[in-house]
């Protein structure tokens, strides 16, 4: 009889990873299924290139897993903790090496078949995100694309909700102005 981890909360899954060697792998797989795409999306959008995003994505999960193994207390906000790891890694990476110009060829990532139109949209969005400052880009990705609430975003970044709102709103305006010539055509086709 196997446990259906899909009914478990994030906190419960984190505890299973910490305490049960037998169930650890499956609990981790469940969390990976829940947040893998979000973390990967965050890494790619913030870093701006596939190579660094892949490295940081893998490192994020390894650190998360190691932290779970050493954890002695329950973790209330697993997703927030996961994004904090990813964010710290991205910030360190950007701090170590100044970010190079975006190579749009790197944005053909994804395991599904990507149409030319989809690729074009990805490149436009990447270019739009690239014009944002790092702080604005991070907030915009997490809130506007990932749908993370401001209070959760505040816990991860340590900034006030008002400051985060200001960043998201400004980033939203900048991205919209940049993409406005293309948005109408694209959304009309879909």
């Amino acid at each position: 009889m196997t446990t259906d981890f899909s009914t478990y909360t994030d906190t419960m899954l984190f505890a299973v990873i910490s305490q049960s060697a037998e169930q650890r792998e499956r609990a981790f797989a469940e969390l990976y299924a829940r947040y893998g795409q979000k973390v990967y999306l965050y890494c790619t959008k913030v870093m701006g290139n596939r190579h660094d995003a892949n490295d940081l994505y893998q490192e994020t999960w390894i650190r998360f897993h190691n932290a779970a193994l050493k954890a002695e207390t329950a973790l209330d906000n697993v997703a927030g903790y996961l994004f904090r790891i990813a964010r710290n890694l991205c910030l360190n990476k950007k701090r170590d090496a100044k970010k190079d110009l975006v190579n749009f060829d790197d944005f053909s990532f994804g395991s599904i078949d990507t149409t030319l139109e989809q690729k074009e949209l990805s490149e436009l969005i990447a270019r739009a995100l690239d014009i944002l400052d790092d702080d604005y880009r991070e907030c915009f990705v997490l809130h506007e694309i990932e749908g993370m609430p401001y209070d959760e975003l505040s816990r991860i970044t340590g900034e006030t909700v008002a400051a985060l709102k200001n960043r998201v709103w400004r980033a939203r305006k900048q991205v919209r102005e940049f993409l406005s010539p293309f948005l109408h055509e694209y959304t009309e086709r879909h």
Binding site: T2, D4, F5, S6, T7, A21, E22, E25, R26, F28, A29, E30, Y32, A33, R34, G36, Q37, K38, Y40, L41, T44, K45, N54, Y57, Q58, W61, I62, H65, N66, F109, G110, S111, I112, T114, Q118, L121, S122, I125, H143, E144, I145, E146, G147, M148, P149, Y150, K165, V168, W169, R172, V175, R176, L179, S180, L183, H184, Y186, T187, H190
Partner: protein, 443 residues
């Protein structure tokens, strides 16, 4: 678009509008075409972003790599399916919002009369019964859909084998962790060593900078000293030149020339020499008689041929009154030969006289320096008179005086003279004229 519109729009997109403000927002959207356009653009953007986001998933080999690095053999869950489930909901909501905006754009100028429902609900209810009320943004942020993963039934022996393998892999992972810790320690040591080297290099750089500053300071001091020395030398040179100029002016004034005279240096030197006349000049003078006469005899055929005299002159004894005028005292002894015919006892006889006599008197000489031969040649007018042994004498001459070197003078000219002389038992007056030459030496 006003500031309030901007806030309402973003709060709506953030799902932060309560019912009252949402009603206000949609009322404004219905009235304001600019806000309507902004809302439309924002929803289009969100739709595009989330459609694109749905395509960004970790590659399968990356997920496998993650699991393998953790020692897990399990195939990663189907993230793609989960993503579609998750983002599909988002996209549906976003597209619904876009549809709302389309309605608002089509019928945005209609009257809004809230009656228990929100404005958007009213709008949609009025226009169509089939349109679903758009989900506010907050609804877009609901928890991701659960991921359904199939459970596999594993026999006990396989489970035991798997557990054993897991234990092995965990041990390998621990070894990896220890290796990673050791590597981190090595990196830390290397960083510390780098810091020490940087510190040493920084101190060496500071020392070099200090030495450079000292050298620059010393060089600046030397340059300043050199400059001061040059200034002093320049001042001394100027003072010397000033003294020389002053001396030159004084000399020129002393010598009777105006300062700034265009006279050439050689002329000036010559003039200076000529001005320094010695007090005594002794000259030898010869007069080639062209004619002479003797008033005491009947016949006065002039056969006199020459006249030689030695005379002295003191040109600087009397003060010079006019430049170029010399006054002096002259004296000398003269011998001349005079030959004439006379009738004695009815017979004509030729008589030759060679009188020698002393004479002395005063003389004046005026010369004009014209610049010829650097003022060495000057026209002169000379006259003198005095007493001879047998009476008075007078003499006048014009000619040229040439002073080739200092203290030597050559003269040439035409002279007219009257002279009383004694010869035999008689005293005679001789009138003489002719070319005269002479040479004088000053002492």
């Amino acid at each position: 678009m006003t500031e309030n519109d901007y806030i309402l729009l973003n709060d709506y997109l953030d799902g932060a509008l309560d019912d009252g403000r949402e009603e206000e927002f949609f009322g404004e959207v219905a009235r304001n075409p600019v806000l309507r356009r902004e809302l439309n653009g924002s929803l289009r953007l969100r739709t595009a972003l989330r459609m694109e986001a749905a395509s960004v998933i970790p590659p399968a080999d990356l997920s496998s790599s993650v699991f393998a690095s953790l020692g897990y053999a399990q195939k990663p869950a189907n993230i793609l399916g989960a993503a579609f489930l998750q983002w599909g909901g988002y996209l549906g909501a976003a597209l619904t919002g876009a549809l709302l905006v389309w309605f608002l754009m089509q019928f945005g100028n209609m009257q809004i009369q809230p009656q228990g429902q929100s404005v958007s609900q009213q709008l949609l209810t009025v226009r169509t019964d089939t349109v679903v009320i758009p989900a506010p943004a907050q609804q877009l942020q609901t928890s991701p859909p659960s991921f359904a993963k199939e459970e596999a039934t594993v026999p006990d022996d396989e489970r035991a084998a798997l557990n054993k393998r897991i234990a092995t892999l965990e041990a390998a992972l621990r070894n990896q962790s220890r290796a990673a810790s050791a590597m981190a320690q090595r990196e830390s040591n290397r960083a510390e060593q780098d810091n020490q080297e940087r510190s040493i290099l920084a101190s060496e750089r500071d020392e070099l900078a200090r030495r450079l500053a000292e050298a620059q300071s010393a060089l600046a001091t030397l340059n300043e000293q050199q400059r001061l020395q040059q200034n002093q030398e320049l001042q001394a040179s100027e003072q010397r030149e000033s003294r020389l100029a002053e001396q030159s002016n004084t000399l020129q004034q002393t010598l009777g020339f105006e300062t700034g005279s265009p006279m050439r240096p050689v002329q000036f030197a010559r003039q200076s020499e000529l001005q320094k006349q010695r007090p005594v000049e002794v000259s030898v003078r010869q007069l080639l008689l062209r004619s002479s006469s003797n008033v005491a005899v009947e016949s006065n055929d002039n056969l006199g041929l020459y006249n030689v005299a030695v005379q002295g002159m003191l040109p600087d004894v009397l003060p010079r009154i006019i430049p170029g005028l010399a006054l002096g005292i002259e004296f000398g002894r003269e011998q001349f030969v005079q030959q004439y015919r006379d009738v004695l006892n009815g017979q004509t006889a030729t008589i030759t006289q060679r009188p020698t006599l002393w004479w002395g008197g005063v003389a004046a000489r005026y010369g004009i320096r014209t610049g010829i031969f650097d003022n060495a040649v000057m026209p002169i007018v000379q006259a003198g008179g005095g007493l001879a042994e047998s009476g008075f004498y007078y003499r006048a001459a014009v000619g040229l005086r040439y002073e080739p070197v200092q203290s030597v003078a050559l003269t040439i000219g035409f002279e007219q003279a009257w002279l009383n002389y004694r010869a035999g038992l008689g005293t005679y007056l001789s009138t003489q004229n002719g070319f005269t030459t002479g040479i004088g030496f000053q002492f």
